[in-house]
Symmetry: D2
Subunit: 350 residues, 4 copies
């Protein structure tokens, strides 16, 4: 029997990606599409995204808890702003099997950090403590039993996957002051990461390679909370639609060399279907992971300085959002995590 | 039982698109990947296209009839140059259930036209007469019984689908000299249409909006052979990866207005899963059909002049090549034509 | 002595292009930058466009007739919406030597056509009759004496230049009903043509090859007014920043062949520095004219049908807007028209 | 009297950029265009780059010392491969006032480093010792008297300009082992940086965000030779034509904070026309410097960790190649360095 799903926030890029994936998912069915709370109207979905013309008849309706519950969903995906996610997670709590939230509303366990980094007071700390961080590769058990999943941010996914196994294994050097040597993370994201809102910087003629949110980005505390080590993270925007490439620098602890790093990551992800450690000398391109749920990782070490360079590539809308959410749904409902997520139908060349 | 498939020419863009589609196809299995005859080596497929890393273990092998037959294929896809297709179609004839050729080697029924437009003498006219033109919407019955399918060109697909029903219904005006008023077709294609060969004009920094092959393009006789009317076709290249938009102008016969044109096309394609007639005022974008097998069509008529404007959009690598080939395979092997072809997992916005 | 210039509407793309060109112009000086009437504030120009950082100290000020006149300008450029242009042209009339308007407010001589195509009542028909249409290649004498210049639209420039000499020479066929055979114009523009306003369709992830404004575009009456023949014009948007490629189809009158068409256009533009007739077989690319004031034109004729195909390429922001305005300024103030406009510093490849 | 210039290697991207700049230069004249030694033929330059159609009549000729000298050049620009540059620099030595080489043939003072990083034996160490490194902001005096200028690489320009003043001022921390804490440089370049050669990775459909040459790039020793500190440099390619953004991380020495870093860079470049230190909070975009000779620099410091983040943006073909070469020519021939280099005619938005 198919999992009945509802998407709130279907008019954004992550919402549309969810619809695309769920439409092709053999064990799920899309039962309802809703705008975020603020949106009005009752338009057919193809008016928002022409590619669904003839493929999906559902309208996008204004979101309300009642209307959502009337769809009798097993899983509700929240592709909504933080504040809307907070409210829907609360109002749906206990009334659907699982809520999967793609916003940051439940990612940080420490409620006191929300005002500084997200600009809102966290009003539901009890829910927060029950939310499972939705990165299956590191938190599978919790996700399987969760009624609320906080799907990770896109940048954090690209950083945590390569860093956590190394941090746990003690691969990261310690500074003379006793603090860890912070890994440096320079990430470049496609423009879809900025969402579908009308902003000057998202106009076609305005986008170009550029850093932003330096030392202030909301994903910094999320990365630090789950990567196993404090980091310094600098996001950039690049002139392309989708994908993230993160380049990560790590000062290695004594006795760590390239072979040991490679073995550590290979061992960590040997059984993981969505993490691919590239052969030496092959550096992942965003083209390799576009419209897939893969995270590709490559690495090299400069032995004279004990300096490790990692690059990791994901699709920000798939492994960085909708695909990861569906992977969590699969885990939560007892399906193989790869179900509906193994398309390679993404790129052209490379 | 799954259809056993082999792809010859797997290292090009159409070949890779075939692999992507067939990997996700529930009733097909990829049994072998071969380069075109001229290519050497035995490299893993992910060395050609990183996105298949970990998804497909097959190497790309040098193509030979024996090696292909050793895979015991039911269907062999030829994503090869015309001359290679000619040879493989001949050598495989009678030894596999169906050969699906994506080149132009078998598209024109009249063998005498090959030297002028394609620069080669057609050496197998007997095969030519047995080949079925692989546009299911207009030639389904022949495809179902075919041992050789000539999959249409990308531009022709975008032009024939809107024009043929109108030509058949007598919608196109006659000139005073008794000849039909030729429809004007201006098409813009993404760069993948130029293939993966190393050519200056395909370099990233060289591509821009530009006409090419004016009055000389190889697809002109193919369009004229199947659209039901002679046309004048001008191809353009645009700075994007994939997709074709064709804008078509038709001088209407007396008594044809917008409503009648719309009814004609709507009736023709009412049962067709891959042709979408857009609502009035909605003009298809390449973004709507990217990585789908759809052909979107819209139209408007200037009543003062009896002038019809149609635009049609397809993905040149899917409905214009690999997707259409798989649709033909589905038809040939008794499957629903939509099997494995309903992904909407292509775009971001629009 | 340098021409003192002021730009109203400096915060848009055409306005910024004007500033770029005028900054490098040896005989002009930028004396004031103003927003369009509706904009507020007093920000430094580099806050709008980072590339002017350190190159131009002027702030962008709210526009008012008094503030503009206080700059003592010889020439005022209006890169403003139609309605604002109407008001500034009126209030500045007689008080500056020349107003150059980049909007459509004064392009159509027939005031009665404004409501239908532009949605406003033309409130200053007297000014309208005195405005010179600013296409120097066809209207130089009037521009030289004008106090108000209506700088042409981008699409019209790309269509009128190739069509007018042919229409004047009688090259265009007559239909049996006595009307001319309308040339078909299919144009593709870069996204900057849509302006800098916040619109969903201008977002990076939304833009793709697509027709729009079919049979309804505001440039249709402008083309028809100056091309010498009624036409049917279909605009498209393409995924690139700047440039227009127009593909134009003409049914030739008897006795016109390719040589005669080529001679007609070559003769018409032999002395024109900004119109380049390409050698046979060379089809202009948008890359060739990017950030230049050139209009490149190529052509071929299908003799069996008397069918002429022309493509013309311009930069929509230069020859289609700011460059043309400066060319008019040069003509108006007795300078060589090429002054400040011969940069080739635009492209990379091709 | 104008400087007579010749460009060898005019058929590449840097060569064409040189031609663009020199054509608009008020004190220089292009007297001859040559291919690199290996190229044949005698084609008009517009056959290589359509944008020069009608602007430059010179053909591109096969390069030979005699043919070059017959142009009686004052300055010869070598936009040639390393080996060709070596030979032309030698054969032209003493016979023209100044040779400006855009290859790496004379950038490293230590001849023994060429085999490892560039794959060739340096055959002219005497010339090497006389070559002036062509970064005027740090080596102006030597350039003014030089007969041979080694124009810097693109990545090195973007890294050396922000790092050298800091290294000289002692801003960079020392590691416990006594070595400096190496700055981390992550750079993303547009595709023109890969040149105009036919390579799979430069095809339109193959380019995407990706690291390459990790720990092996030829610019690593050049950066280290001139930045004042050893570094770790990782280049990336991004899907755009031109421009480089470098993100640089520096562990600060004690007593260095954001204000002191800003003061150090502001002081270093106060008189430099082509280095722009951005206001706090403004992060340079590649769009801001496209087709300009500017290097834009911004910075922020995380005080808790003494961690400095700098981003710098240049156009790889201008300040990273042709513009810098012309700046050197200006310095060498006693002109203001800005002559012919102040165009802002590059971008659209941002």
């Amino acid at each position: 029997m198919a999992i009945r799903t509802v998407i709130i926030g279907a008019s954004g890029y992550s919402g549309a990606e969810l619809v695309s994936i769920l439409l092709a998912h053999p064990d799920a069915r899309v039962e309802g599409l809703f705008g975020s709370a603020k949106r009005e109207g009752d338009e057919p979905y193809s008016a928002s995204f022409g590619r669904f013309r003839g493929r999906l008849d559902l309208p996008v309706r204004p979101a309300s808890t009642e209307a959502v519950l009337a769809c009798k969903p097993d899983a509700v995906f929240l592709a909504t702003p933080h504040e809307a996610s907070l409210e829907f997670a609360r109002s749906l709590d206990g009334r659907v099997a699982c809520v999967l939230d793609l916003s940051a509303a439940f990612r940080l366990k420490d409620a006191t950090r929300y005002p500084a980094f997200y600009g809102f007071e966290h009003t539901h700390p009890a829910l927060l403590s029950r939310a499972a961080y939705g990165l299956p590769e590191i938190n599978r058990a919790a996700i399987r039993g969760a009624s609320l999943v906080a799907v990770p941010g896109c940048y954090p996914t690209s950083a945590i996957l390569p860093l956590l196994p190394l941090a746990r294994a003690g691969a990261i050097a310690t500074r003379p002051d006793g603090r860890p040597a912070r890994p440096v993370i320079d990430s470049t994201s496609g423009v879809s990461g900025a969402g579908r809102g009308l902003a000057l910087r998202s106009l076609f003629c305005e986008v170009h390679q550029q850093a932003y949110g330096v030392l202030k980005h909301r994903h910094q505390p999320e990365i630090d909370a789950y990567a196993g080590v404090p980091t310094v993270f600098t996001p950039h925007l690049g002139p392309f639609e989708r994908g993230i490439l993160s380049t990560i620098h790590v000062e290695l602890a004594p006795n760590w060399d390239e072979a040991r790093v490679r073995a550590c990551l290979t061992d960590a992800y040997r059984e993981e279907p969505f993490v691919r450690i590239c052969p030496a000398g092959v550096w992942p391109s965003v083209a390799d992971v576009r419209q897939t749920n893969f995270c590709d990782i490559s690495l090299a070490v400069d032995p004279a300085w004990g300096h490790l360079i990692i690059t990791s590539a994901i699709d920000n809308l798939v492994k960085g959002a909708a695909g990861q959410a569906v992977q969590c749904m699969n885990a939560r409902f007892g399906l193989p995590e790869t179900r509906g997520l193994l398309s390679t139908h993404g790129g052209t060349g490379a």
